[in-house]
């Protein structure tokens, strides 16, 4: 964050809010779940940029760069998580934007979660996870706000 803000020249405006690009990757076509997550995160004070269905890893990363998002949240229910989640991480690397944090949601077996984390996905939330656990995790990750 800017030293300028810390110096107190700007005392009125709040610090930079956490901006999160939420996207559905893969070909499954409903977005009820991700919209519920979007609302919960908004109510927790996050700025959510929702980009819609059937996003490719390239589209997601491009959106995150254009929007200056600190976080990408991916939702996937087609079972292609082992290819699509790492593809987003890889695309971030290619664009020299590894600092952007990636988390995912979907039906992902425990073993796959371990492997995905090794590959650079920061966290995976499975369908049983309470919304509050996502909020807590994000707040923990971005304690500034």
């Amino acid at each position: 964050m800017s030293e300028v803000a810390a110096a107190g020249a700007q005392v009125e405006e709040p610090a930079r809010p956490v901006r999160i690009v939420l996207a559905k990757v893969g070909l499954d076509g409903h977005d009820r779940g991700v919209k519920v997550v979007a609302r919960a995160l908004r109510d927790a004070g996050f700025e959510i940029i929702y980009t819609g269905l059937r996003q490719t890893p390239q589209m997601v990363v491009e959106a995150a760069l254009q929007e200056d998002a600190q976080v990408i949240g991916l939702s996937l229910h087609s079972g292609a998580h082992m290819t699509l989640f790492p593809a987003v991480v890889e695309e971030l690397r290619r664009r020299r934007a590894e600092d952007i944090v990636v988390f995912g949601g979907g039906i992902v077996p425990e073993d796959d979660i371990v492997e995905l984390k090794k590959q650079g996905v920061a966290e995976i939330f499975t369908p049983g996870a309470p919304l509050q656990s996502i909020i807590d995790w994000l707040r923990n990750r971005f304690p500034a706000r």
Partner: protein
Amino acid sequence: MPERNLLAEFKAGNIRGLARAISLVEQRDPSVRHLLEGLANGARRPRVLGFTGAPGTGKSTLVDALVSNLRESELRVAVLAVDPNSPYSGGAILGDRIRMQRHALDPGVYIRSMGARGHLGGLSVATREAVRLLGAFGFDEVILETVGVGQSELEVAAIADTTLVVLTPGLGDGVQMIKAGIMEIADVFVVNKADLPGAQKTMQEIRSMLSMGPKLSWRAPIVGASAIKGEGVDEVLAAVERHRAHLEASGEAAERAEARLKDEAADLVAEWARAQARRLLDQDEAVAGRLRRDRIPYAAAEEILTRAGGRLVPEAART
């Protein structure tokens, strides 16, 4: 991305440099001054189109269609989509990009969603500065989208060269718009969703409303469109071009440009002065004590202005 790289990234045409600079503008970081003054193109202004209208009238869909059209002429286009934040949590769901996905990977298109975040003095200062950054970065056209439900549409109108008010058939939009004073800001009316019944009637209603108003040098045309079918989009752009030609021919373009610059300078003074006043009020015992004793603000305000002098310029913006 470290701050010191910002200028280099921006100059190199890296989209991340631009995106981060716009974030600084959103945070009202005064150091943006040095970025803009340090750029050869810092004063280059793009052409600015403003879209406003009630929620769900099809603004984003229309913007998407217009972007396609402008891209055919090889113009570089940026979209700033401004939505209100929740007054309770400060959070927001910004969903305008959904309608613009076909431009997601076009390097000639930049789309940025902005939360209004309850900025003091509204959005205008931040949006204007973002427009400046986009012009300096090389965009030819900037399209602003904002929901017309409060103040923000007036601010958009103050920034845009041409303001388009988007209505839909039926729904009594027309009546609501008059109430909200939105009719006055329209340079072009678009009746979108003309594929639905009642479009002709809505256009007729707007026409008769306008005929009751004062005679102006520019009569806002009323264009029917179906953004979803891509119909009427050429006509919308043609109306914009006619309005631009009118602004140039009448000398209004130059007048507005000057008025805008004056607004910009005055708003900056107000913003800087306010920030420093807050600082004195919070940190300077003489000023704070005076306010406590007086219990009425005038003398304290005068003292701040008298004493602050050159210190009104925030440290980060000083040269």
